[in-house]
């Protein structure tokens, strides 16, 4: 494993926590904002060593490994590979945007709000960097509390319902994840994820641990039918909450699939793949269809998330290079585009104090720059060519059609639905009789330009020249898939052998019972 002198991952995980402590000593809200913004920029600067990431290895890099509680075999074990590093960059990049888009939006308890944001960033970075299962779980749980608070304290009128629903759903998922974690420790003898990856487990064990982990991850993604917490949480959350939720939190579920399900339970993953693909397709179609019927802008985008994340899970469970690449691209793209769309809703909400589409008709005339950005992000959202989502969507489609023509054909309606609801929304916002225009409304100010311009650059950059991202992820994904194929084919040979010997002895295969 490649090591580096400077403990960069520890530094980026703990800087926000240190900053949280400093916040206690700052009184004025404006200072709090500036301070958090500066911290978020320092965080970005601290990421510089990560630019030395080696593209041509599947090994974990920037590894830090210290014994934590040796008695129980717990370790403080961090590292990144081509899959997680993209998520780490996304997390760090989203923080300053969240601060900027909350600048005037958040008026009460400013200090506590920024405390939650910073704490959340630490926890999310921890999730993506942890290579020890328990450490992963600690960060996974740590992020629930600030998210709960973001919704419950700074949310809309129905915030207590939404926040409780959020925490109940995700806690239910994490509880079974804990069971899986302990099971891996008992059977595998270690919490270290890279070491667990080298072991092979019995089918029965994989069967149950896969189900347990999948429940946790599927709730987080969220996959249909575990998605109902998401629209509620999004609608009630403040803008920054929605952005963090959409850009980072949802990715943890799909990251979990890639980090745990495929490498640790490959046979069960393959066994359950048809179910996972079916659920993914259901998510894509259902998310799109429901989004089409919404009148609340945040709800439209929330349901569109369900559909987009369906593409991600679909790509993962196709088990081919293009599919998984597409999935990872979609994770990144969804983070950029949907995050930006939520910021756009926040921007207009600050003016019209309504998220209803009908209250925001015909604003193109007064806010051309706003509509320009909105158009770009909306187009990106439905996979317009030359924008980022198109790359991801195309890869998933190629993967799907390669795997099976019918899977490919099944998601086409989802693609169409995405175009329909986004064009409908963009059309209503830019056209029609202005419903809420008031004298004194201004087009985007400098701060708004900044936080919308940055994702806009990435929309076009990834859409037109995604070479760097391919380079980053390709080796890791190829490693993941070849490892997966090796394990599943080894298992298939073993089962074949066992079956033939059982058949000679005239005994029925106990696995058949389980499989049937």
């Amino acid at each position: 494993m490649l090591d580096s002198g400077f403990q960069v991952l520890t530094a980026i995980i703990f800087l926000p926590i240190v900053a949280c402590v400093c916040l206690f000593f700052i009184e004025r809200p404006s200072t709090v904002r500036v301070f958090t913004l500066i911290v978020s920029i320092i965080e970005l600067i601290l990421m510089k060593p990560l630019l030395n990431f080696q593209f041509n290895t599947t090994e974990f890099q920037f590894v830090e490994r210290v014994a934590w509680m040796p008695r129980w075999g717990l370790e403080y074990y961090l590292g990144v590979d081509g899959i997680s590093i993209l998520m780490v960059w996304l997390t760090v990049a989203v923080l300053p945007l969240c601060v900027l888009c909350s600048w005037t939006y958040i008026e009460k308890r400013v200090k506590e709000f920024h405390f939650c944001l910073l704490f959340m960033t630490s926890a999310c970075l921890g999730v993506f960097c942890a290579l020890d299962f328990t450490l992963f779980y600690v960060f996974w749980e740590a992020m629930l509390v600030p998210m709960y608070l973001l919704i419950a304290v700074w949310g809309g009128p129905n915030r207590s319902y939404a926040s409780i629903k959020f925490i109940l759903y995700t806690l239910a998922g994490s509880t079974v994840l804990l069971v899986a974690l302990i099971a891996f420790r008992i059977v595998g003898g270690t919490f270290s994820i890279p070491e667990l990856m080298t072991k092979s487990f019995s089918f029965r064990f994989q069967f149950w641990t896969f189900l347990a982990m999948t429940l946790a991850f599927a709730i987080k993604v969220p996959m249909f039918p575990f998605h109902t917490w998401l629209p509620a949480a999004h609608v009630e959350a403040p803008t920054a909450g929605s952005v963090v939720l959409a850009s980072i939190l949802l990715k943890m579920g799909t990251y979990g699939f890639l980090r745990f399900c495929l490498p640790l339970t490959p046979v069960a993953s393959e066994y359950f793949a048809p179910m996972m693909i079916a659920i993914s397709i259901a998510s894509i179609i259902y998310g799109g269809a429901v989004a089409l019927g919404q009148d609340d802008m945040k709800k439209i985008i929330a349901y569109s998330s369900v559909g987009h994340m369906g593409f991600v899970t679909l790509g993962i469970f196709l088990f081919n290079q293009r599919g998984v690449e597409g999935a990872l691209f979609q994770m990144l793209n969804h983070g950029i585009t949907t995050g930006a769309l939520f910021m756009m809703v926040g921007t207009i909400y600050e003016r019209s104090h309504s998220r209803q589409v009908l209250d925001n008709l015909g604003i193109a005339k007064y806010m051309p720059a706003y509509i320009g950005f909105f158009g770009l992000f909306a187009f990106s959202s439905f996979g317009f060519p030359a924008t980022n989502s198109f790359v991801g969507e195309l890869l998933v489609l190629v993967g799907a059609f390669q795997a099976n023509l019918w899977i490919g054909a099944a998601i086409i309606p989802g693609v169409l639905l995405a175009a329909t609801y986004m064009l409908r929304l963009a059309q209503k916002l830019s056209w029609g009789e202005p419903s809420s225009f008031k004298q004194g409304w201004k087009d985007l100010n400098f701060r708004e330009w900044v936080y919308l311009f940055i994702p806009a650059v990435f929309v076009l950059y990834i859409g037109l020249a995604p070479g760097l991202f391919f380079k980053t992820m390709d080796t890791s994904i190829a490693g993941l898939i070849s490892d997966f194929k090796a394990k599943t084919s080894a298992y298939a040979i073993e089962t074949q052998k066992a079956k033939s010997s059982l058949a000679v002895a005239g005994i029925e295969d106990p696995l058949d019972e389980l499989k049937n």
Binding site: L416, L464, F470
Partner: protein, 497 residues
């Protein structure tokens, strides 16, 4: 067939796209001063046309200019190339943009239309789309600009922002986005899976990009998806958006729904057949004739519907549906002479049909009349306008020496060569039907006496900014009939004929 052509790396092929990309921003920047704003359109159109024209010597020397701008992933790039086929559409669309800008000024200012900046911006973006489509070097670039056209012509169709405009524009979007997402996108994905690349096979229209050992059924499905996905070509049953799009201001119907948008559609079909599948694959899988029959049906059916329409623009719309299928029919007959006729018709129809729409708009600006039955006696009040209408109508019918005759000649020749009598009958029937729906317009205008109390004498020609362009395009129609070589030299170099 000539040997494979030399492919030359040249950034010049991106200039028309770059100019049309910058133009909308400049138009918007000059929104406060209408004269400067329209001057930008004029200058950009002329610059684009000259850039396209400057590539002509290279292309005629048998070279293909190519340039890759962005690489998305191996085999999927944003790249442009100029060969004979792209030159035809590139020249026609940029030249007519120049003419249409003059006409636009007369029409939009004459009717005091609202939101003119939005209108000119979208107009320029639509031309960007047309230039991008014509110089696209692979299916991805084609798809990108095809979609740009769709999205940015929506505001033009819905320009009047009333109930009728919205419902027409909705239909427009549903048809075009629906087909492109449901058919064209999977077609592109399947092509990528089958070929490993989306780059056209340029330089030889007999060979395509699909490997000869590819699954025949899958290639056939891909072909069907392409034909269904390119709804801009308005082949039945995906034609209905075009008559609905006629709610747009007339210059939009003229340049976009007679030239840029619909020609982008038939151009895409030509491209996909000639540089994507290749005549050999088309022939081997027997894909040509079924498509030719659908096109022939569209030609006849749309002509019959056109006769029943009293609204001049609706009649012209159905005439467009019918004439677009001429191009498709020519190309899918898969014999060099018919293919030549099909491609030639892209240019010929463009000049004649834009003339017809221009006259419809001029009549509307001068008299506020849309119905043919109300145009009694107008001919004598607006002789230049109706004169131009007559010339263009002769071209549509296929009377020499106007240009429509030339392309029809090639196609009839092709139908005879491949011994397809039904296709020949369709071509001839359409000629008669064309007479059936164009001549009554002229007859009403010139020979029917005005209704009492209609006060025809109050009408006169529309502003010169409108009448000059429309008469000019009519003259070009005649010139193209007399000197078809201007276009056919590009076709010959493209097809190696």
């Amino acid at each position: 067939m000539t040997p494979a052509k030399e492919i030359v790396e040249s950034v010049a092929v991106t200039y028309p796209v770059i100019i049309t990309l910058i133009a909308p921003f400049l138009v918007y920047a000059f929104r406060k001063d209408p004269n400067k704003r329209e001057a930008v359109s004029f200058i950009a159109a002329m610059a684009t046309f000259l850039c396209v024209l400057s590539m002509a010597p290279e292309v005629l020397a048998g070279r293909i200019l190519k340039y890759t701008v962005f690489t998305i992933m191996p085999g999927i790039t944003v790249s442009f190339s100029a060969d004979g086929l792209s030159m035809i559409f590139g020249m026609v669309s940029s030249f007519l943009w120049f003419i249409a800008t003059s006409y636009n000024i007369g029409y939009m200012r004459g009717l005091k239309e609202h939101a003119q900046t939005r209108y000119y911006v979208c107009f320029a973006v639509a031309i960007l789309g047309a230039q991008g489509v014509s110089f696209a070097s692979n299916v991805f670039t084609l798809y990108l600009f095809y979609e740009i056209i769709t999205v940015f012509t929506y505001p033009l169709v819905a320009h009047h922002q009333d109930e009728e405009a919205y419902s027409g524009a909705r239909k427009y979007l549903v048809y075009l986005v629906g087909t492109s997402k449901v058919f064209l996108l999977p077609a592109m994905v399947l092509t990528y899976i089958l070929c490993g690349t989306l780059d056209y096979h340029l330089g030889d229209m007999t060979k395509g990009m699909y490997p000869s050992d590819a699954n025949g059924l899958l290639v056939t499905v891909t072909y069907a998806l392409f034909i269904a996905g390119i709804a801009k070509a308005a082949i039945m049953p995906f034609h209905n958006w075009l008559p609905s799009a006629m709610v747009a201001p007339t210059p939009v119907s003229a340049l976009l729904h007679a030239v840029a948008v619909v020609k982008a559609g038939v151009f895409c079909i030509c491209r996909v057949i000639l540089s994507g599948f290749g005549l050999d694959t088309m022939d081997r899988l027997g894909l040509g004739l079924p498509t030719a029959y659908i096109a022939a049906f569209t030609i006849v059916a749309a002509s019959i519907i056109a006769i029943t329409k009293d609204d001049l623009k609706a009649r012209l719309a159905y005439s467009t549906v019918s004439q677009l299928s001429y191009v498709v029919l020519g190309v899918t007959m898969l014999t060099p002479i018919a293919v030549q006729g099909g491609m030639l018709h892209i240019a010929n129809h463009a000049f004649s049909k834009i003339t017809l729409f221009f006259t419809a708009g001029a009549i509307y600006v001068a008299t506020h009349t849309k119905s043919i039955s109300q145009m009694k006696g107008y001919g004598w009040r607006m002789p230049w306008t109706f004169g131009a209408f007559g010339i263009a109508a002769l071209s549509m019918i296929g009377v020499p020496p106007v240009c429509g005759f030339v392309s029809k000649w090639y196609m009839v020749n092709g139908a005879v060569t491949i011994h397809q009598m039904p296709l020949l009958i369709a071509l001839l029937a359409s000629t008669i039907l064309n007479v059936g729906y164009f001549v009554p317009v002229l007859y009403t205008a010139f020979f029917k006496s005005p209704d009492p109390g209609s006060h025809v004498e109050q009408y006169s020609e529309a502003p010169a900014t409108m009448v000059v362009p429309l008469f000019f395009t009519a003259i070009v129609s005649v010139l193209l009939g007399l000197y078809p070589e201007a276009v056919t030299q590009f076709i010959k170099i493209f097809g190696g004929m």
